[in-house]
């Protein structure tokens, strides 16, 4: 089951990436090789096996739902590419 160029274009769209024609060519070829390699896991019998999500004991870590003030709004906002009066600035969304 080889991955097609159309699939790569679709996947890139889902991931919010624009790809050039050359990138589409390259990633299609790379993905075909990598997925073929990934398919080797089908050789493993996993009947009756659970899924390992984390590796530690599966305990739910609970905590009280309490607000902790970060306290340094300026430090957070200084990394915003565009800000205005303490808010992140984006282009107009509603017409």
């Amino acid at each position: 089951m080889a991955i097609s160029k159309e699939e790569i274009i679709h996947i890139a769209k889902l991931a919010d990436l624009n790809l050039s024609e050359a990138e589409i060519e390259k990633y299609t070829k790379d993905m075909q090789e990598i997925i073929e390699f990934a398919n080797t896991i089908n050789n493993v019998n996993t009947e009756g096996m659970g899924e390992t999500i984390g590796t530690n004991e599966k305990v739910n870590v609970l905590r009280k739902d309490e607000v902790v003030e970060f306290g340094n709004r300026d430090a957070l906002l200084q990394n915003a590419p565009s800000q205005d009066e303490g808010m992140f600035r984006i282009p107009k969304v509603l017409n």
Binding site: E7, V44, E51, A75, P81
Partner: protein
């Protein structure tokens, strides 16, 4: 002997006896960086001004007889994916080129309590994705043993800096081998602790179920000292384990008598360089001479670990990197008319080619129609691999393998074929898949004069046995008599 040549445990003694000051020590590292880093290129940024200021403060405290930590005034270098408040954390990506950390990572909070001095931030593969540090968006780091070769990766800057003695020790992070493999290729000691031993808070996430922070050091003693400082439960990382704090230096015992070591035959067979294989067999022999039992065993399902790893790690990465949208932090495109353009163009211009490749792979394996066949199946195989380790550890205290199938490869040798680069991780990724601790210890030079490391894998949260065996090997061998040559690459 120059100050930068000492191990940290030696430097602590000198500071405590008043033979040296933190100021002269810290300066010796910056002098060394000025001398060597134009060739090695390990540092993305240096913090000379704040480091020298801090060093002087510590010296004054010590001089005045005020109580200070025994680590006070010891310099350290940090991989550039861990946040130090008020300084840049770039992940060696254009995406975060100007990102200033608004807070400290938990490991940094812990080091601050001991008054360590930060030398700077170290180069890496972009977002820790790679095994050669060639995927840094800024520049490539060179291996101090041969400047035409890679230092390994993704913590290539952290390993090269210790190897070139531009830092006495450093922190790296390891998702599939990113501490151990560069440590092996640079001839230093690298430890990936058990998943959950060290808090990941403030470490820029790559694959959250696999990432761990760990020490890269000149010797095993320093590794135990640094793990003592960074290990421990943190409520800000719900996957960090709440357990009693250990003193790993208690495991620095020169004795492996009665220890049972398994030697999985798959890692001394096909695909492993002959000289590397020979070096590992010599280590096995040494352990037997020292009183341990070494027995061949099998980790057959280990051969699926790399495929499982790339499915799971990329799936998690594609999700983690979704946050980079050009709005709250990070790179923003100049070309946009609407919000969607900002997202898409910022990501397309801000991420490098390997990061995009992994986001595409991760998005693919999570997408409708493929989720069960890849992501879910990989998680099941992960269980099979974990079970196989559990079985082996019923019989053995430790497993012994090479850290890397080859010694350092040439810069550019593997960049055109991503799959070939991924296979450089075959010895290290199974350990992350199992969530186990693993350490790389240098043991020999190959015929080209390049370091070979061996890997010890332990049971979950049993770093002690690794330290004991690693320390015993180190005490009965002499790798540290070798020094990097800085040969080649006159650029």
């Amino acid at each position: 002997m120059e100050l930068y040549e000492y191990t940290v445990h030696e430097l602590i003694e000198k500071l405590e006896k008043g033979e040296i000051t933190s100021e002269t020590l810290t300066k010796s590292y910056f002098d060394r960086i000025k001398e060597k880093d134009n060739k090695v290129k390990a540092y993305v940024s240096t913090l000379e001004e704040s480091a020298m200021k801090k060093a002087k403060e510590i010296d004054e405290k010590r001089k005045a007889g005020k109580p200070v930590s025994k680590f006070a005034g010891i310099p350290i270098g940090i991989k550039d994916n861990m946040c130090i408040e008020g300084t840049k954390t770039t992940c060696s990506s254009k995406m975060l080129e100007n990102f200033v950390s608004p807070y400290n990572a938990t490991v940094i909070e812990k080091l601050n309590k001991e008054d360590l001095v930060y030398l700077g931030k170290l180069n890496m593969d972009e977002f820790a994705m790679g095994g050669s540090t060639e995927h840094s968006a800024f520049f490539k780091t060179h291996n101090p043993w041969d400047l035409e070769r890679v230092p390994g990766g993704s913590s290539g800057g952290s390993a090269a800096a210790v190897s070139a003695e531009m830092a006495p020790w450093t922190l790296g992070s390891d998702t599939g081998g990113s501490i151990r493999q560069p440590a092996s290729l640079c001839g230093v000691v690298g430890l990936k602790p058990t998943y959950g031993l060290v808090s990941r808070y403030g470490l820029v996430a790559f694959a959250s179920s696999l990432d761990q922070i760990g020490p890269i050091t000149k010797d095993v003693t320093d590794s135990a000292l640094l793990l003592n400082l960074i290990a421990g439960h943190d409520e800000k990382d719900s996957t960090s384990m709440d357990m009693e704090k250990k003193d790993y230096t208690l495991s620095l015992v020169n004795d492996v008598k009665g220890m049972k070591i398994g030697l999985p035959k798959e890692y001394i067979g096909e695909g492993i360089n002959e000289e590397v294989k020979q070096a590992i067999l010599n280590v096995a022999k040494k352990y037997e001479e020292l009183g341990a039992t070494v027995e061949e065993c099998s980790l057959d399902v280990g051969k699926y670990a790399t495929a499982v790893y790339y499915i799971i790690a990329c799936a998690e990465a594609s999700s983690n990197l979704g946050r980079f949208d050009g709005i709250r932090y990070g790179y923003r495109t100049e070309k946009y008319d609407n919000l969607k353009d900002i997202y898409r163009n910022s990501r397309s211009e801000g991420f490098g080619p390997e990061v995009k490749r992994r986001i595409i792979l991760g998005t693919y394996v999570l997408s409708s129609g493929y989720y069960d066949a890849y992501y879910k199946k990989a998680q099941k195989v992960r269980t099979v691999i974990k079970n196989a380790y559990d079985e082996l550890f019923k019989k053995y205290d430790l497993l012994l393998t090479p850290t890397s199938p080859t010694t350092a490869f040439k810069i550019g040798e593997k960049t055109s074929n991503p799959l070939e680069m991924y296979l450089a991780d075959i010895c290290t990724v199974p350990v992350n898949i199992g969530g186990l601790p693993g350490m790389s210890i240098p043991c020999a030079l190959d015929s080209k004069g390049l370091p070979i490391g061996f890997q010890l894998i332990g049971k979950a949260f049993d770093e002690e046995t690794i330290f004991r065996a690693a320390y015993t090997y180190e005490q009965n061998s002499n790798f540290r008599e070798n020094k990097p040559t800085f040969k080649g690459g006159d650029n």
